[in-house]
């Protein structure tokens, strides 16, 4: 502090800013809106093109091989999908989580961190850098109790993060496509066990949380670890069973095969015209239309599996803090980032199985011929860029829905979590298996779509009408819509 600064000079200085309301004109705001979305889609397009391009580059190192799954292509895929796409997306999600939450709650959200020289909050993005630096440089504190089993204590975050990180390997982001002379696809592992790999690795994640809870030598952490293991194991059953309907429909557990079957075939795309795989000639052959309830059940079970709110009893910040209570610095960061990576993976699986994977509905063959006209013979390759973009947008949408659920629903009590898992989701998914199997036997996938449509209509009807109170004391929309136990129509 400058000692010579007199009070009068302080009054004159900028320490006391004059209150000038910053007013952005509406025209300006409209420009930002259009420009912002244009930039967003341009970014997605660039990202998709870059991802395909880099994988093509790596695939080029395999001189002779001209089918998917070469070593170099795999290296390129690991690099671009897992290290860049998943990690970048998970990192951005740490921020998006806070910023989206703010928007859902009518707040501004984090906007104080600044990049040097730029006097703009940049939508809070500098906070990511601040967070990472904080995680890296914080003291890695190990309590006395935990020091006694240091190995297990250190293994915890690794076992939580490692499997989550590997999960994305089986998720296909693009079709197999001739991308400028090489046949490539954005998928690391082309294996027959597909989704089983996800189930197997996701179970290993339980070791991470259980070990963390136990080796922390803290009763609350142990409680969190126990809750986490019980919850993850319970929901794994449902997680698998909800997908059985999809397995029946596609006859495969490979995610790339499932994605492929949900839209126009490669041949149809090359010929142009209309998409022959549409159900009844108008409905995209997406999993969600065959298995609408399974899609909801799966998303619910998956959210419980990755311990996201409203199923975050293992973490329960307001009560037991959770299995990572004793961790600090980067190890705690690993737990947190593992959750976001898992979010991305779950969104990817839901997209690949239920939302048509990379397929764009209806327009693929037509778009391909248009693009063919633009750049002769490369229509399919250009289409692939749009398909990857479509996949990313779908993933973002699913993630957004998960965040919606987070802010709309109060946290379940632990027994409610178990009740929902074992007594509601499990029987429901079993029933779904039987109905799906019967429908498939009766008339293949079109029959399943028929059943699915009936389910959707019934569901919409239920949401809109069934069980409604008489109009006189209908609950007001802002009241207790999110709370199932509030006394209805109390105001």
């Amino acid at each position: 502090m400058d000692a010579t600064l007199t009070p009068s000079s302080r009054l004159a200085s900028s320490d006391i800013p004059t209150a000038v309301p910053v007013k952005r004109t509406v025209g300006n705001w409209f420009g930002w809106l259009i420009g912002g979305w244009a930039m967003f889609f341009a970014f997605l397009f660039g990202l998709s093109a870059t991802m395909l391009g880099v994988v093509r580059l790596f695939a080029g190192f395999d001189e002779k091989k001209n089918s998917v799954g070469g070593t170099w292509e795999g290296v390129g895929n690991i690099l671009i999908l897992m290290l860049v796409f998943v990690m970048i997306l998970a990192t951005l999600l740490t921020m998006a989580d806070r910023k989206w939450s703010a928007m859902m709650q009518d707040r501004v959200g984090p906007n104080r961190a600044r990049l040097p020289g730029i006097d703009s909050p940049l939508a809070g993005l500098p906070h990511i850098i601040a967070d990472v630096l904080k995680m890296l440089f914080k003291e890695d504190f190990i309590s006395d109790g935990a020091a006694r089993q240091k190995l297990l204590f250190n293994l915890g975050p690794l076992l939580a993060f490692g499997p989550a990180f590997c999960l994305f390997a089986v998720i296909p982001m693009s079709p197999e496509v001739f991308f400028f002379g090489k046949r490539i696809s954005l998928q690391v592992l082309h294996v027959d066990w597909g989704i089983l790999y996800v189930f197997a690795l996701a179970s290993i994640g339980v070791f991470g949380t259980a070990l963390a809870g136990w080796s922390s030598d803290n009763k609350f952490a142990l409680l969190g670890g126990l809750r986490a293991s019980a919850q993850m194991i319970s929901y794994e059953v449902t997680l698998g069973l909800t997908l059985v309907g999809a397995f029946i429909a596609y006859g495969s557990v490979r995610l790339d095969v499932m994605s492929e079957l949900q839209g126009a075939t490669e041949a149809a795309i090359r010929i142009g015209g209309s998409d022959p795989t549409l159900f009844f000639g108008w409905l995209p052959a997406w999993g969600i239309f065959m298995q609408p309830l399974a899609a909801i059940f799966f998303l619910t079970a998956a959210m419980a599996e990755i311990k996201r709110t409203p199923f975050d009893t293992p973490e329960g910040e307001s009560e037991i803090i959770g299995y990572y209570l004793e961790y600090s610095g980067l190890k705690s960061g690993l737990f947190l980032i593992a959750e976001y990576v898992e979010t991305v993976v779950v969104a990817g699986i839901v997209t690949a199985i239920f939302l048509g994977g990379w397929h764009l509905p209806w327009i693929e063959p037509a778009l391909c011929s248009v693009l063919d006209g633009l750049w002769h013979g490369n229509g399919a390759a250009l289409l692939a860029i749009f398909q990857v973009m479509g996949f990313i947008i779908k993933v973002l949408l699913v993630i957004w829905v998960m965040f919606l659920a987070r802010w709309a629903l109060p946290r379940f009590r632990y027994d409610q979590v178990m009740h929902l898992g074992w007594k509601m989701l499990l029987p429901a998914s079993l029933a779904n298996v039987i109905i799906s199997a019967a429908a498939y036997l009766a008339g293949g996938r079109e029959a399943m779509a028929m059943v699915g449509l009936v389910e959707i209509v019934a569901f919409v009807g239920y949401v809109a009408f069934w069980g409604k109170k008489p109009a006189a004391d209908a609950p007001d929309a802002h009241g207790h819509a999110a709370d199932p136990h509030a006394a209805p129509a109390s105001h």
């Binding site: 009068s8 501004v108 919606l404 929309a477 819509a481």
Partner: protein, 214 residues
């Protein structure tokens, strides 16, 4: 739930009032998510109204964020707000204060320090040579403003005492306090004394003579 005991009336009531549709939970979930989604899209696409006076943002096209980003956006204080003191100047820039010690006497926190001086040849007898307010001790009661017979001290600056990094900086002196719109009342001239050229200066200093502080 323990069915051995009598259930609380509240719980029984809840059970009764839940319809099957509500027990299925899904609809309530969807309704809740729809509300949250509506807020999200409104805030995403909405035009942020920076007018700081607006508290309840409704209306189309305007987002629902009521937060005021404080240092950049400031809400004007209401008209009666007791803010930073100021010593009201006369039109010629001298303070209206006549160093009567009324405010210092009235001040319950005893944070006003005045040293009076005397004009040699002016229609006004006294003026403050030093006038200091310790804003850290001030309890912002406004008694000083009430006490002043000359309307010479006001708290109408619309800003609060600024944060300081060391205590001495919170003591605002006459130069710092003197400012704002000058005030001249029609009754002022009545209180002027006639210029008394005959009275000899009581000291040899130019501006006036210091009298003791309190």
């Amino acid at each position: 739930m323990d069915h051995g005991h009598a259930e609380s009336p509240r719980a029984a009531q809840d059970e009764q009032e839940l319809t099957l549709g509500e027990k299925l939970f899904l609809r309530e979930t969807i309704k809740g998510m729809a509300i949250v989604a509506r807020h999200f899209w409104k805030n995403l696409f909405g035009f942020r109204d920076n007018t700081t006076e607006v508290l309840d943002r409704k209306g189309t096209g305007v987002n629902l964020v009521t937060t005021i980003n404080y240092p950049e956006e400031q809400k004007p204080y209401p008209p009666g707000y007791r803010g930073m003191h100021r010593l009201v100047p006369r039109v010629d820039g001298r303070p209206r204060c006549v160093a009567c010690y009324m405010c210092a006497t009235a001040c319950p926190a005893q944070c006003i320090y005045i040293e009076a001086g005397e004009y040699d040849d002016q229609a006004i007898e006294k003026y403050p040579v030093r006038f200091e307010i310790d804003e850290l001790r001030c309890i912002v009661c406004g008694f000083c403003v009430e006490a002043c017979p000359k309307d010479a001290i006001r708290m109408d600056t619309g800003t609060h005492a600024p944060a300081v990094l060391s205590r001495p900086l919170a003591v605002f002196d006459k130069e710092a306090l003197l400012g704002g719109a000058p005030v001249e009342l029609s009754s002022d001239s009545m209180t002027y004394r006639a210029p008394l050229k005959t009275v000899a200066p009581m000291g040899s200093n130019e501006g006036g003579k210091k009298m003791g502080g309190h």
